[in-house]
Symmetry: C2
Subunit: 293 residues, 2 copies
């Protein structure tokens, strides 16, 4: 049971966590912190939070659980602000999409509190954002990756695992390095490739007509290109090393494809496309149950 949950960032991720714990009757009070007064008012109206604040330091007083669900680029001042006011038993976690940099922030700003800190990443992305997007059941059947610190107390880790399981999630543990390499490959780089594709399309001489005839393939392929610029800039910078390695691999594969096309190499093209297609088809078959956001 959580007495007082503070959301530092009251959007889809934090809001849906609060709603899930409320439905499970595992939280007495939820305080939402955010920069947008309009968004906080919406969260209050929707019953996502019970109280709102624009002052993180004040909000965390008396809290026994803090979820930092703000973009990674905003976490540093939040950690600095709350550090002096955290109760010793207050579990601090986050929902950052990158983990090596966030682990560095915990070490730098919450050094005295590390046994109660457990970095995490719920895998429930969406192009939607804001408190109005929060919903019950967002985490049902989803995965949550925790990247505990060597200092994290086993009881803190277990408490957080239990809470995420109450939200319906399956909980995994990884090292921060492993996490960042995996999510660069299957999340961060797809977003960046989709942004690059949209920008390449904008260089087309007839972009208005192109967009006019874009259909369902385009729709799905570019859905993530509509994602939040500030958030994805921060993720790309935070996970720069792993992201750059994957982007280089993408450039290399595009250049290989260009060479096959220039050579008119039908057999090579078949092989190239079959490798990609069979991997995707096999993945689809394995993950049939994966729900849409």
């Amino acid at each position: 049971m959580v007495r007082k949950l503070v959301l530092l960032g009251t959007g889809l991720i934090g809001g849906s966590f609060a709603l899930a714990l409320k439905r499970a009757q595992q939280v007495a009070q939820v305080v939402g912190v955010g920069r947008s007064q309009a968004n906080l008012e919406r969260a209050l109206e929707l019953g996502v939070i019970d109280a709102a604040s624009q002052d993180p330091a004040q909000a965390v007083q008396g809290a026994d659980l803090v979820l930092i669900a703000a973009p990674v680029g905003q976490m540093q001042p939040l950690m600095q602000a709350i550090a002096p006011n955290l109760a010793g038993d207050c579990l601090v976690t986050d929902a950052g999409s990158t983990k090596r940099d966030v682990v560095g922030l915990y070490r730098a700003h919450l050094a005295a509190h590390l046994p109660a800190c457990v970095p995490g990443h719920p895998i429930a992305g969406s192009d939607l954002s804001g408190a109005a997007a929060a919903r019950y059941g967002l985490y049902e059947g989803r995965r949550v990756v925790l990247t505990p610190l060597p200092e994290s107390a086993p009881e803190a880790i277990e408490r957080l695992e239990t809470l995420w399981r109450l939200c319906g999630a399956a909980v995994y543990r990884m090292s921060p390095e492993e996490h960042d390499s995996v999510f660069a490959a299957v999340s961060h780089v797809p977003h960046l490739v989709a942004f690059a594709y949209m920008n390449a399309l904008l260089e087309h001489g007839n972009v208005a007509q192109c967009l006019d005839f874009a259909a369902t393939g385009f729709r799905d392929f570019t859905r993530i290109a509509g994602s939040h610029p500030e958030m994805w800039r921060d993720i790309a910078l935070a996970n720069r090393e792993a992201v750059l390695a994957d982007l280089q691999r993408n450039v290399g594969q595009l250049q290989a494809l260009i060479h096959l096309l220039e050579a008119g190499d039908a057999a090579g093209l078949t092989h190239y496309i079959e490798r990609a297609s069979s991997t995707r088809v096999a993945w689809e078959a394995r993950t049939k149950g994966l729900s849409k956001p």
Copy 2:
């Protein structure tokens, strides 16, 4: 009213055209031609076609409408085979995803029949294929692009437009060059970029774990990477010139992104992502009604 419709290629595209005309009571008999006996039997069972044949030359005898709905790479032998047996009034069209090359095939193989030939492209892609995927309503609210020849008789074009409208589609006319440039940009290149992305992922040191944690963003972004290899090889080769120009633009944009990341240029990255994101968001707002396949 169509007396005898012959589908050269009895899959999603041809089958759904036949079903739509049947429901509109606009066709008396549908003959399906295909290479796979099992697929033709399935089409007969499902009532998509009334008779099956593996001989295109024989099948088109007495036909007043032929839809070539086979992959573009298979169209040449089909046109050659049917040319001697076409009735003078038999309207011939196709559903090829590229048009410059298909127009060339009409000229080369159906030179005596051009007034009754109207190349076309129904925009209703899907990663599904085969007669079992055919369904009523596939073309409801979809677009069909016709690229008539200078020789195409106005009555032939109008007759085909009427039939596609009876299927629920909106009909547009373009030049073959315009068509190929637009669809390279919004259809062919997204598929190729998705294939390249999958192949880059296969170079990751830990691909099994990556695929294990791939979520909904990955799912949508790579859906088209599961598409039919033979079909997309043919499209890429057929539309090579336009496709290569777009692929080069994608490589250029990825390299620009890599430079921004290497330089840690946060402002440049924000601008880069905002341009892509705002374009995608505006497109989404304009096309809200676009249905899923």
